[in-house]
């Protein structure tokens, strides 16, 4: 049961192939942008942030990182300002922002916390998926390795990776739970 829980691949929608225009925040011109969409209370995402931290040590300042924490409708700002938020904000070079009512998550096709998208300097999607190999599993994994490789100008080992984490949206979560 635990294995099923830990290694159940989270849902993911279709990510835009290019950085969508008109977003409240833009991407950095001249360098790739890594966007991670997270649930502020998902404990599994702690491993994602940990792996992000490691990943950044290997990539230096060659990537701009944005972490979006969804704020469901009706929830206060305090609901979002969790320990996870503070951990993400504490990582140098990481910009943390709210995603009210998960609008941006839906834009990027994210349904699972820890969903990462890497857009190159020109705004083209290079990678989407998780950077952990299980819920809350810290350590090397194909997703993170692919992101590092792409940022460092290497050939993309893979463009997608399974994402592990809590559902960003109720319906999808319920749908997934019921599917279990």
């Amino acid at each position: 049961m635990i294995s099923k829980y830990d290694y159940a691949v989270g849902e993911a929608g279709a990510a835009p192939a290019y950085w969508p225009p008109g977003l409240p925040f833009g991407r950095d011109a001249g360098r790739p942008t890594l966007l991670i969409i997270a649930h502020p209370k998902c404990s599994c995402t702690r491993a994602t942030l940990e792996n992000l931290n490691r990943l950044l040590t290997k990539c230096g300042g060659r990537v701009a990182v944005r972490v979006l924490f969804i704020r469901p409708k009706g929830q206060s700002q305090e609901w979002v300002r969790t320990d996870l938020w503070r951990s993400a904000a504490a990582i140098p070079g990481v910009v943390v922002a709210e995603d009210p009512d998960g609008a941006l998550a839906r834009t990027f096709g994210a349904a699972t916390s820890g969903y990462a998208l890497l857009y190159d300097a020109s705004g083209r999607l290079e990678f989407c998926g998780g950077i952990t190999d299980g819920r809350g599993h810290v350590g090397d994994n194909p997703g993170a390795e692919a992101v590092v490789s792409l940022i460092n100008g290497g050939a993309g080992l893979q463009a997608r990776a399974p994402v592990y984490g809590c559902s960003l949206l109720e319906t999808s979560c319920r749908a997934r739970d019921s599917s279990k």
């Binding site: 829980y5 830990d6 994994n141 949206l169």
Partner: protein, 734 residues
Amino acid sequence: MIQLATERPSEADRFARRVSALFEGQRQNIILHTDRLFTWLMLCQWAFCVGLAFWLSPRTWSGTESAVNPHVWLAIVLGGIVTSVPVILARTQPGGQATRHAIAIGQMAMSALLIDVTGGRIETHFHIFGSLAFLAFYRDRRVLATATLVVFADHIIRGLYWPQSVYGVVYAPFWRSLEHGWWIAFEVVFLLISIRKSLCEMHLAAERQARLELTNDTIKESREHLAQAQHIAKLGNWTWDIPANRVLCSEEAHRLYGRDPEVDGTTMEKCLERVLPEDLPRIREAMAEALKTRQPFVCDHRVRLPDGEVRHIHGRGEVMVDAHGAPVKIFGIIQDVTEAALSEESLRRTEMQLRQSQKMEAIGRLSGGVAHDFNNLLTVINGYSSLSMLQLDEADPVRKNIEEITKAAERASGLTRQLLAFSRKQVVHPRALNINEVVRGMEKMLRRLIGEDVELSTNFDESIRNVNVDPGQIEQVIMNLAVNARDAMPDGGKLTIRTANISVDQSSTFRNRTLKVGSYVVLAVSDDGVGMNEDVQNHLFEPFFTTKGLGKGTGLGLATCYGIIAQAGGDIRVYSEPNSGTTFKIYLPMTASATEAPAAPPSDTMPAGRETILVVEDDAGVRQLAVTVLRKCGYRVQISNDAYEALEAIKRSPQFDLVITDVIMPRMSGKDLRDQIKAHRPGTEVLLMSGYAGDALAHRGVLEEGLLFLEKPFSPARLAQKVREVLDASPVAR
């Protein structure tokens, strides 16, 4: 009683068994301790695991909806399973082998769980190393082996099938499990070495402990033997720490001083509390001298126990000095010598009594011998004086001279009687009498004797019982005591005579005599005169001992009293203090007989007869007097110088009606002569004459039944009356 073990294992066997027991005991203690340690450790781990799950991933989320994170359930349920089995075993079967193996498995399972929960974090693997180190506390290689096998199996199986759960990666090559296994083996090897060394040290410690115990047992046994020996010998030892004034005593030393052995470490002053006050200065002096001279000391003393018993203690001690020669300790011993001291005292008293008896015996013999010769002389003097008086006219001036001779002879006769009385050789004529009546009869005479300055007071018990004594002798005793009382009150005073009936229910010894249990009449003669000190009292009854000065006393008075009372089967005791007067108490055995009438007073008549009489006497004077008197009375008289001559004479002419014989004669005594005559001539009467009653004739001065006796010195009239009395009473005459 001492009980000895019948069979004892050899010392080597005992040692080996003890080492093994100690080693196993220590090992078991360690195992139990470690079981307890793991009980808490595992419970804490479980709690930590659950707490960690709650903290790190309390809930799983779907938007705004959440549920308890499965990891929390995992921590609670699986952690509970992994923890509870070993903990329950540790509680129910502490120290059991299965328990510690279950703990090893559980602990390793907990490591696996933690690694899994933390997503195979490499840091969590340190839990395995820590757990193995903890498990090494058991000092049991098998436990470590079990744990190692569990870890190996976990890594290999999970590495193959769920590498993420153990290494945090999707794929892990097999060598990674081997690498982990290598590091675990690396630690385990060191732990095994550590366990081996630890077990060796435990064994060495057990050996040391066993050796120490054996040594302690030997010391304890030696102490018990010493205590037993001290108890048997009634000997204790003590040590006085002088600077600290602390005294440590052996158990026996405590017992000898009647102290509580539980209270040790007392001061010297406390120790000496039970010593008799008169002995204390001697002890202090001995110790002070020893401290001064550094020489050993001996000090005998007495202690009074709480129950009042007095114990004689022989003490010895030696002074110990420090490097500078200053005394720091005294080691000493004390020994109960009460029995020896009492025996010595008893022996000394017995020796004194023996010496006294020998002295009295010697004086008695001397007195008896002197009295015998004196009585012969006095018989002659008295006899011829009386005969001469018979031949002289009333107006003859020579009569006065002869009367003076007679008076002097009577005084000499009195002195001889006293000698015989104290030497208990006097023939007595006891009869039942009332002592009150005796004293009443003497009152007039006593008042004259003690003079006007001394008041005579009597206090009689009117229910007084009779006593069986010679009235003349008891009168002499009372008179002697009264004279002594008078002399003790030169300025006047009070002489009190009391009588009472008493019952003695416990025998008591005073001087050489023991007053036996029985009923007695007490005659107490008290004065309020100068009294006597102890030294005088000690010699009071010795013949010729006097305090009255030369020429004033013969020293025979109290000796006579003593002899008379002793001869009567009684006792005389004196109670006196200087300047507080003196009381003599005379104890005479009661008799149930009624009082007897006194004998008729002597008369001067000389009855005559014609019978044939043989006089046997070695003293020519007495012999001649007897012959003269008897012939004067009309008897036919023959004489013999000794018993053999007498037997020859009787053989030649067997017609003798009476044989009068002296008792003490050379070659054959008068008593033996009588026995021979009675054997061959039963019809011939034999009258014995003597100045005193020897053992052959009398018991305590009372003549044997059937003996005819004439006491020397006798007067011619007494001889004639006695001869006539005997002949008239003879069956032949009747």
